[in-house]
């Protein structure tokens, strides 16, 4: 899913970093957001709606829509589309509203 060559843009990808999503190891590049890295790894469902449990995916990419809220290193409700991925991040799908008091 990554663009290998582009006629206009020269993608300067950072060095590879690895993180886990629901326990699965994923390789990303420094400078990417968690959501971009998950998308590149083929992960399309990022959360579920609270009542009907309908799948939610990558939608706005600018931290507005809340469809990508996840638990990152123990902290709930992280907007992964505007959060840069870091080496060793533990990213988990969040069911429900999460515990807002929980700290990393």
């Amino acid at each position: 899913m990554r663009i290998k060559e582009h006629p206009i843009i020269d993608f300067k990808r950072g060095k590879p970093v690895s993180f886990t999503f629901n326990g699965r190891e994923i390789t990303a590049f420094e400078g990417e957001t968690i959501a971009a890295a998950l998308h590149a790894a083929g992960v399309r469902v990022l959360s579920h709606s609270h009542d009907l449990k309908r799948p939610r995916g990558f939608f706005c990419a600018i931290g507005n829509c809340s469809s990508c809220l996840m638990k990152v290193n123990g902290a709930y409700n992280v907007r992964i589309c505007v959060t840069p991925v870091r080496e060793g991040d533990r990213v988990e799908m969040q069911e429900g509203r999460g515990d807002i008091i929980a700290k990393a």
Binding site: E5, H6, P7, I8
Partner: protein, 164 residues
């Protein structure tokens, strides 16, 4: 109808086609710009004065085909990628079409490709004569195709054979 389909009408194309007499003299520009939008890089790009001074930035480019020497400097300057150069004097059977092409991979010179029209439909076989991609073109390469002469005013893009 252009506004409905995105495809210029034959009458619109006829209006911007140079005279047969001019076509016989060599390469000449075809500016397929049919809508008054605020845009004027083409007239700044032309060093021959063939694209007349705009009174208003929303004017359509008005081309004096007799002043145009077909140099093609305007092709990669047009933000709409709407400028082409055709040369009806290339050979008995074939003419040349120069066009902007911002996709990868770029074709090779001498490669056989399929010429396509303003609707992306294949219309003829074509041969790549030249691929220009100098720094000054700022990532808008210009590809020159040899096409059967009757298709000079039709071929506006191409697809690579066996490619995408």
């Amino acid at each position: 109808m252009l506004e409905k389909t995105g495809v210029p009408d034959p009458e619109q194309v006829k209006d911007i086609t140079p005279s047969e007499e001019r076509l016989q003299k060599g390469p000449v520009v075809i500016v397929e710009c049919f809508q008054n939008i605020p845009c004027d890089p083409c007239r700044h790009a032309c060093r021959q004065g063939a694209i007349k001074e705009f009174e208003d930035i929303n004017d359509l480019p008005e081309v004096d085909h007799d002043l145009c020497n077909g140099c093609g400097l305007c092709i990669s300057e047009c933000p709409g990628l709407a400028i082409f150069v055709i040369d009806a004097t290339y050979s008995e059977e074939e003419g040349l079409v120069k066009m902007p092409y911002e996709y990868l991979p770029l074709p090779e010179e001498n490669e056989e490709v399929t010429g396509t029209d303003t609707e992306g439909r294949p219309i003829c076989s074509a041969r790549v004569i030249k691929v220009q991609n100098a720094k000054a073109l700022d990532r808008t390469p210009v590809v020159t195709l040899a096409v059967p002469r009757q298709h000079l005013m039709k071929v506006r893009s191409f697809v690579r054979k066996g490619g995408e």
